[in-house]
Symmetry: C2
Subunit: 199 residues, 2 copies
Amino acid sequence: MGRPAKFTDDQLLDAAREVVAVHGVTATVAQVSAASGATTGSVYHRFRSREELLVRLWLRSIERLHERLFEVEAEHDDPGEALVALAVETARYSREHPAEARAMTLYRHERLVHTAPQVLHDRVVHLNDGVFAMLGRLAAQRFPTAADDPHLVRRVFTCVIGLCYGLIRPYIVAATPIPVWLDDVIARAVTAALTTIDQ
Amino acid sequence: MGRPAKFTDDQLLDAAREVVAVHGVTATVAQVSAASGATTGSVYHRFRSREELLVRLWLRSIERLHERLFEVEAEHDDPGEALVALAVETARYSREHPAEARAMTLYRHERLVHTAPQVLHDRVVHLNDGVFAMLGRLAAQRFPTAADDPHLVRRVFTCVIGLCYGLIRPYIVAATPIPVWLDDVIARAVTAALTTIDQ
DNA sequence: CTCTAACTAGAACATCGCCTCTAGATCAAG
DNA sequence: CTTGATCTAGAGGCGATGTTCTAGTTAGAG
């Protein structure tokens, strides 16, 4: 068995996260290696390309948020309350973990489906499966009359996650604290947006 | 007086707009010159740098939206209705002018205030003055009890323009048509969000 | 101890895109 | 016609950055 690794993948991703928190998408491999203590050679030994490194970081940050969201679902019995709570939790989580949140802004899912590195393609494609299933469950309970709408989940996603993310994104990208009063705005706006689902 | 110009500034900006509509922020000067029919030398004769070209395009697209918004204000007597109409109009305008809308996503105002080319600094700084004044007027009428809140305009901006823009941005960036059902979502969400202003 | 797989190291290479530079073209004014 | 300011033209410099390459290091297995 060869030499043991000096850095774990997560250590390198953590370094990348901090660089991205400052420099955004334009983070360079040299910056990541400087921040981690590894050399560019070592970074490329682990990740086939800069793209793969950043996509892996993006995936990790979104999967971590999703874990929180699944916990939130479990804490609520009423599906309507759960949907609103998902949005508010997204804002809270992003406020508490600004660097993680910044990493989430690196890419858009639809684009990566086409352009992600081969090795990560499947992980990208199925990234939202769990959350979509959850939204489908909640939507079917909350809007039984609209259960046959083929775009139901898509619309619910927009009204809950999309709406919240759109409001907090400017703060995340600007590395500015997300104001606490936004939580209330999000809660009321999501509640109202959801009323469009079944007219 | 020397040779007359073969291209107007607006022609070059139009070409840049079409390139940006396809390639986003990564649009290159070579692509713009190819799209316009001018050479890179000509482009640099008009614009001191790629940054200045793109910031000018960004400014133009936002100022054009603002013109629409001022017209919308004039069409409404009730300040509450006007605020909602501003948000809906932003969505409609972006749906009808996707390339203009894409240009609006090139930069964020707060960042440009610090990094814009010298020549454009003032124009960037005062870009939102008119809209903020309008929002201030409408907010003062609609929320007389909150008129002394120093952050009133900022919050109204977030609840109206910020909320709308956050919802439509993904479609703009993906070059996907903005769904018509979003207009209703926006109208209801903005109405509800504004209720947080005076509790 | 030796062997070897796995990793570190960082210099070198290749590419890409911004920007500059020099030469030449054009056209209104005098 | 002559002049000269303004613009066109596009090849090339130059810096930055992703990626590769070759040599060297490490530590567990036998």
